[in-house]
Amino acid sequence: MLQYKNYVPEGVADTHWDEYETKDKIIGQIKKQFKSFGYRQIMTPTFEYYDLFVGIEGTIHRDEMFKFIDGNGKIMVLRPDVTIPIARMAANSHGRYQGYFKFAYIANVFRVSEDQSGNKREFMQAGIEYLGNEKSDADAEVVAVGVKILKECGIKNFQFDLGQAAYFKGLMMEVALEKNIKDHIRKLVEEKNASELFHFLRPLNIPSRVKDTIQKLPYLYGKPNDVIRTAKEIALNIEMEKAVDYLSEVYEILKDYGYEEYITIDLGLVNHMDYYTGVIFKGYARNYGKPLLSGGRYDHLTKQYGLALPATGFGLNIDEMMEVMEMNNMLKESICFTDFLILYTQKTRERAFLLAETLRSKGFIVESDLYGRDLKGQIQNAEFRNIKEIIELAGENLKIVSIKNNEIKKKTMVQFLKNLESNGAVFSIH
């Protein structure tokens, strides 16, 4: 039998140190934005009961969840999504509703994916959930946080597509059809499959004005003002009109955030209609085939855990965001390095540690090791580890080997420290 001990499974991967450094910076940037808008970071368990996810009309299919059975025979699921646990948490831990909750998270999520599809089975997701605020201002704020993050991470050429689940739902109220037929209509609209939609609707017994509106849905995308105007014109009932007005409000608020240029509208976004209840959105980056970020309003979710809270939020895939940044050469190369390696003898060891601590307190990255005879080996190692300078502390004085400049200098301890002070600019900035 083939031994797998040296292999990692498909869909998961090790993270290289330089890659981790980069990822860490992006995470830092994202966290900063979340925090600055008042979203408080929380964490939910890595695995939970299958029951938590199974009864819910969520965005993740049951077959996509990693399941296992614990010692008591209970079925567990590796966190396939963070929104549902947050909804549970919000509903459970705050029995009495007093205001709103703003949660942020950064967590690994796990999804079963088709073999050889190239999809990750474990990836890092960041997101926010705004619970307890039913106003369009909350929708707009959540979108605005998403825009701000993409901007701050240096992604250029991105856009946000807004949709409105309530518009499609309002339209479906006009047709008395079985669920599977409505689902098929939804699927064809989602695919912008106008020709099949036409053929599918033709024999159905529904009013022609309803058919006309359904057939227009796949084309209801583009510049916000145009789409909103048309959508209003072809609305068939008060629900649809209200839905458009709400969307229009969200757009107006986003204008005041100064984000008008990033916004487009697509009323043909009709995925996960059992889950979303209002404004939904996706963030796209140019030349990247998948949405970077997606979210929307889901007012009915927490009710299933015993407390009805209006809610909106989004999730973004950090690994994919890194791919986009890499593709556009936007990753400020974060290569791990060390400022100083101090080599000591038994005699100078104590002084060496003291020096190391002094340097560390000034913000430098300092390693130390016992001085061997083989300086050449140490230099090779330093090159490999990206160590900038080796300090030999053998006697009273310091011998400083600069790897980058390929030069050796002798200095007294006092000179060395004084030099550091005066060269404030060389201060480490990690």
Partner: protein, 208 residues
């Protein structure tokens, strides 16, 4: 302006697509059907065509490696992909059918053994009828299966029905029509909207 990549599968669908593109003035001068090159560019109009296996067109488009693609509805039905199916190009017409030997008698309630290149399409069709089936996935010469007793029926695409006839099979029920479809990556469709809609509009005019 960014390039728009169009994934095509060598063969008739590609020939027809290229003909339609030529009608709207999009040409690839160094292309000829016998060439082994896989990528051709129209530098001026920023359009690139890439040749891939028919069954791979959908994945190229879904993942965004190509912005547009042309493939048969049969393949789209078999491998459901997350993309926009923006246009029925009208050519490549054929149909999905269930076929069996002339003397085949369907016994209600009995599990049907189905030989096919399209297990998902077969399963979906028979499940809708409420009939349990056993699928035998084959990669070609499906017509053989009922003759040598490997299966009761086959599910396949037919154009003229000649192959079926010559092998003594008859169509026992049609499933649906299929034809060539233009598909688009959901993100490119938005981020390269003006460029892509110009191409689609051109194709639409020539399809009529």
């Amino acid at each position: 302006m960014d390039f728009v990549n169009i994934a095509l599968a060598k063969g008739r669908l590609a020939e027809n697509t290229l003909k339609m593109l030529t009608l709207q003035g999009i040409t690839f001068p160094d292309y000829h059907p016998g060439s082994r090159k896989l990528i051709y560019e129209n530098e001026l109009q920023k359009i690139r065509i890439i040749f891939v296996k028919p069954s791979d067109v959908a994945i190229y488009v879904e993942k965004g490696a190509a912005d547009l693609g042309v493939l048969g509805k049969d393949i789209l039905m078999e491998n459901e992909a997350n993309l926009y199916e923006v246009m029925d190009l009208g050519f490549g017409q054929c149909k999905f059918v269930v076929a069996a030997l002339r003397d085949y008698v369907d016994q209600p309630g009995k599990k049907i053994r189905v030989a096919t290149k399209f297990p998902n399409v077969s399963r979906k069709y028979f499940h809708q009828l409420g009939r349990p089936i056993e699928v035998i996935k084959l990669n070609g010469s499906v017509e053989l299966a009922p003759i040598i007793g490997l299966s009761d029926v086959i599910v396949d695409i037919v154009e003229t029905g000649k192959t079926l006839q010559e092998n003594g099979l008859i169509i026992i029920s049609p499933i649906c029509r299929v034809s060539a479809r233009l598909v688009a990556n959901k993100v490119s469709f938005k981020t390269k909207m003006s460029h892509i809609s110009r191409i689609i509009e051109g194709l639409r005019q020539n399809a009529d």
